[in-house]
Point group: C2
Chain length 339, copies 2
Amino acid sequence: MVLGRRFILKNHFSGSPKPEDFDLVEEELPPLGNKEIQFKTLFLSVDPYMRPYTARMTPPFTMIGGNVAIVEESTHPDFPKGCVIVTSTGWVERGVVSPEKMNKAAPGGNLGGVRRAPNLGPLSNSLLLGVCGMPGNTAFFGLTEICRPVKGETVVVSGAAGAVGSLVGQIAKIKGCTVIGFAGTDDKCEWLKELGFDHVFNYKKSGISESLATAAPNGVDCYFDNVGGEMSAAVITHMNLYGRVGVCGAISHYNEVGGYSKVTDILPLTIGKQLCVEGFLAGRWAGERWGEGIQAMAGWVLKGDIKPRETVLEGFEKMPQALMGLFTGDNTGKMIVKV
Amino acid sequence: MVLGRRFILKNHFSGSPKPEDFDLVEEELPPLGNKEIQFKTLFLSVDPYMRPYTARMTPPFTMIGGNVAIVEESTHPDFPKGCVIVTSTGWVERGVVSPEKMNKAAPGGNLGGVRRAPNLGPLSNSLLLGVCGMPGNTAFFGLTEICRPVKGETVVVSGAAGAVGSLVGQIAKIKGCTVIGFAGTDDKCEWLKELGFDHVFNYKKSGISESLATAAPNGVDCYFDNVGGEMSAAVITHMNLYGRVGVCGAISHYNEVGGYSKVTDILPLTIGKQLCVEGFLAGRWAGERWGEGIQAMAGWVLKGDIKPRETVLEGFEKMPQALMGLFTGDNTGKMIVKV
């Protein structure tokens, strides 16, 4: 008899995620059917999108998310015992899945499916959930395809010390841009400066407009937004003609109760400067292009041009705490739980 | 001695434009210098953009705007006595200008310069300020290049009974789209239905979301926005994957005092559906492409596919009243003052 554990989300979050929103259940795993695998999770991803995404689902359900796992038992020839997989089984420590069914539900097999982990050489497999995974491709494609920075332009990143933001700034530096980041602690700001960001501000201490008046006297060309709200409206007022805003996240709103709070309307701000504000999800580049992003990011990491950073909590039972920590800024770089 | 009259804007508007914001001055015109013209205005354009645009200028100045005029005296071979011109002298009944200097200040000569009126055949020259002028090209290029509707898609227009909105809806019908308009009186709604709009709602009587739930059960693909504010946030919540929002105007905000009021943040709304929200000004297509739009619009008018409508006030001294009327919805279609 093999036991597995998983977290059930019992109800929709109201305000911040809380421990009591979850049930940690232990259960006997079924015997393997045809072309199935039993996996043991090694690393679990914790991401801000989980908060708004679950609001569109109907609890109770196994909490969603990506993970890296090792195959413990297998009746599937493509996923033999001992191989490492990247998948999205949700918050499951040990479980049984059918790769066939999961890949059918997630065409392209890049997000939500089950795939063999690419060989990252000397790098940790946890990076498959960060710089060489969904957050890495979010940064890579969001910056290069939505913000489209040109060498010499000025790029602003909000949530700059997060999993995505910290990569965006480093890619923008590789592209020859001036990079300005906003983060929420002095330690985070210090780290971002070490990474090569040209200007970093603690938004809890410095006004956005005042910061940009000094750091971007010629205006902002690209804004990669992870935060939303008044911070974003303030950045947008500093943008240049034909500026591009990539809207990746809006973490300032995710825990609000009773609908998103009201902020300065950005619509009138887009007209005079003819700004393009575009929301996107990484899944847009799932399929053929997914590997292109992963390869580019892994190459930069191996060359030392991009320095990934993780905040790692140990123990499967830490998952709720890790998620809560995203909204209080506990993480620097990618939040990971090591099982 | 020749006398001319013009309106001076004495101070920035505060809230709604008021008669006392203007001085109507009469003055003796200077004798013509080399390559100058004396013109008499026939029609003056009155447009919402005048309200936010003047906020970025330093009063006092001759109030800005486009006009159609006839040349009364000339020392310029390209603009002989008796020819009709399209220009942007501002709110001037009779004056003297140098086409050379004006065209130098407005490269391309399409907006802000002086150009000979194209021959509209049987159509009124006042249309050069509407369907065959800046508002027409705003509708034409804003819809076709920013909203990019595809046959069969659903297009929503706010401020649908205005100079631009009423043309946008008619172009979208020509392109084979389902068109939904929002306007502010039952009479305007009735007229838009006569024009071929599929669904029209009086936003003062019908909720935006409720209206779209019935009129756009499969969602909205394109939103041409002249209004901004909560109306726009509501439309945006109904948009489909990869929907396009063309932000042309934000008339709901223009008369606000002390900064734009706070509304539901649209940034989080752009992410899940990967919406593209783009502000634009018609001047973007000044230059080579300007004539393409004018020709297309004139062709549709001559064929009867587009029915332009004007609200015409008579008398130069009516200019302030006409401008104020834009913000109280006095106009159906293009607001014009006939001198």
